[in-house]
Amino acid sequence: MRASDLLAMSLGNYTRARLRSALTTAGVAIGTALVVLLIALATGAENNVRRSIFSIGDLRLVTVQPFQPGASGLSAVPRTITDDTVTQFKRIAHVDGVYRQFDAPLGTVVEGGEDATIRPQGIEPGAPVDRGDLLAGRHLAVGDRAVAIVPGNLARIIAPSAGGAVGKRVTMRIGGAVKLGSTRIGGSGTPRDYALTIVGVFDEQASQTSMRIPLEDALAAGAENRGLTPDALRQGTGYSGIAIEADDSQNVAGIVRSVQELGFSSFSLKQVVEQIDQGFGVFRGILAGIGGVALLVAAIGIANTMVMSVLERTREIGIMKAVGAAPRDIRTLFLAEAAYVGLFGGILGLALGVGGGQVIERIIRDLNPRANPAAIFVVGPDLALGALALALVVALVAGFLPARRAMRMSALSALRYE
C-alpha cells in the first residue's frame, strides 16, 4: 500500500474516533507540556544563577593562594609564593598571563581622616583586578611608581567628586594604628608616610579591592615596615597571591590541577560554575523524570485505548486482510494512528508548555517588579524538538503491541467476529 494512502487512511481513522482521539491526545499533550515547562524553568533558573556568577568575575581567572591545597580556613597550611614559583606558573600550558600581588600592611590616607582606612594592594600593570571601567582617570601603567587607583568613596572624601580626585597628591601612612569599622587596631611597626598621586578612581560597588598601587611600592612599604629588604620579603614571606589568566575558560581545570601539583591551593569562578552546572544537570534530570512519569501515564492510556480499538475493529481488520491488506500494512495503519496521537499531542503540549511558561513568567515579573532576572522560562530548539520527538516515541511504543496484535490476527476468525 502506498505510504500516502496509509497515512491518509490512518488520519481518517484518527479523526473519525473524535472523543477517543481527543482524550488520548490530551493525555500526551499534558505530559509534554509538563516536560517542557519543567525543563524550561530549570534552564531559566540555571541561566539566572550563571548570570549572577558571571557578573562577579572573569571565568578565565585562577587565583592562587599562599596555602597548600586541601583544607581551608584555620586549618590551611601556608606556603610561600616566590619568584621561582611564578616562573613555574608561567610554564603551565594555556597560561596567558601571571600577575603577582602583594598586600601592604593596613594604613590610612592622611587627607581622608581617621575613617580613610586602606589595605593597599600591590599589583602589576594589566592585572585582571585593574581592568574594567573606571569612574575617572586611568589604569596602572608600566613604569608607574608612587601612584594609586582609589575607590570612589575614598575619592569623594578627599575631593568633592570622583573626577576631582584625579591628579591629587595624597599621603599614604603605613604601619600606624588604624580604625576598622568602629574598632581601633594597634599598628604594626613605625608608621611611615608615602607620597602618592591619584591617577584613577574605580567604582567601589563593582570591585572589592581597597586601593591599588604598583607592586614595587607595596613591597617597599611592606619591607620597611618589617625592617627587611624587598628581596628578603619576596623570598621569605612571598607574594600575597597570584592571578593566573587562562587563554580560554575551558583550560581552567587543567591549570588548577597544575597549580595543585606545584603545591598551591587556588580558587576559580569557573570551577564554581562547573559545580553549579553539575547540580543543575541533576536537577534537570529529576524534573525530566517527573515529566516523564506524566508521559508514561499517557502512554498507558494510549496502549489501553488502542487495545480496545483493535478489538472493536476486529471484523474491519478481517475485511481488510480479505481484500488484500498485507500484515505489515495493518501494523503500519495502527502504528500511524498512534503516531498521530503522539504528533498532535506533542504539538499541542509544546504550545501549552510555552504558553503556560509565558504566563508564569509574566506573573513572576509582575509580582517582583524590582528584580529583573534573565528569561525565567527558556525553550530552546533542542527542548522543543526533543519534547516532540519524545511524545512521538512514547506514542509509538504504546501502540506497538496492539498494532502487532492486529497484524497477527487470523483473517478468517476476524471475519467471523461479531
Binding site: 500516502s4 475485511i319 481488510m320 500484515p327 478468517l412
Partner: protein, 225 residues
Amino acid sequence: MSTPLAVEAHDLERVYASGTATVAALAGVTLAVRTGEFVAVMGPSGSGKSTLLNVVAGLERPTGGTIRVGGEDLTKLDEEALARHRSKRVGMVFQAFNLLPRYRVVENVALPLAFAGTGRAERLARARALLERLGMSARAEHRTNELSGGELQRAAIARALVGEPAILLADEPTGNLDSANGAALIALLEELHAQGQTVLLVTHDAAIAAQAGRTVRMRDGRVVD
C-alpha cells in the same frame, strides 16, 4: 482442452487440531476449474466447501496437497504474497457482505486496489466505472449503512471485480438476501460469466447450484459424485 486452468487443486488437505482430536476440513480434494467456467460447489454444512473456497482465496493454508490459482502455486507464497494474491488474482464475495461500515461505497469498492498500491485517482475512477457497469452509480457516494442488502451485495461484487481478478469467488452470497434479491444476484453472476468472468460459487442450495454451468458436490471434506 488447452484452456488454462483458473484453479487446479490436487489432493488438497486442510487438517487442524481441535482439542485432542484432529479435524479434516478437507480430506483430499482434487478439482479443476477452467478459465471462463461457472462452477458451483455444493454440500451440507461441514462438507468443507467454504474451506475449499478459503484456500483458493489464500485465506487459509492447506496442510497437504497442491493448489494453483491462475497458474500460481499458493503453497509457495508468504504472507505478503498471499495478500497480493487476494487483492489482484481473486475477488471474494461473502454471505455477510463484509463492507467497511464507515466508508463510502466507492471507497469500499476501491479498497483492494489501495492495498495493491494503485494511486487514489485511478482506483476511484475504476471503482466508479465498475459501479456504473453494475447499475450502482446512484449509490456510489453513499455510506454503506445507507444501502439495502441487495445493494450491499452488488457493491461487494463490484469490490471483488475491481482488481480484474482471474476468478470471482462467492461464499453463499444469497444467504442474507431475500428471494427476489437473491435471484437478481445470481442473475448478475450469470451475466458476468457470460462476459467472460470465471466464477466459483459455494452454496448449500441446489436450486442456485443449478444455475451454474457445472456442480461439484462435497461431503465430509471430499468431492463426491
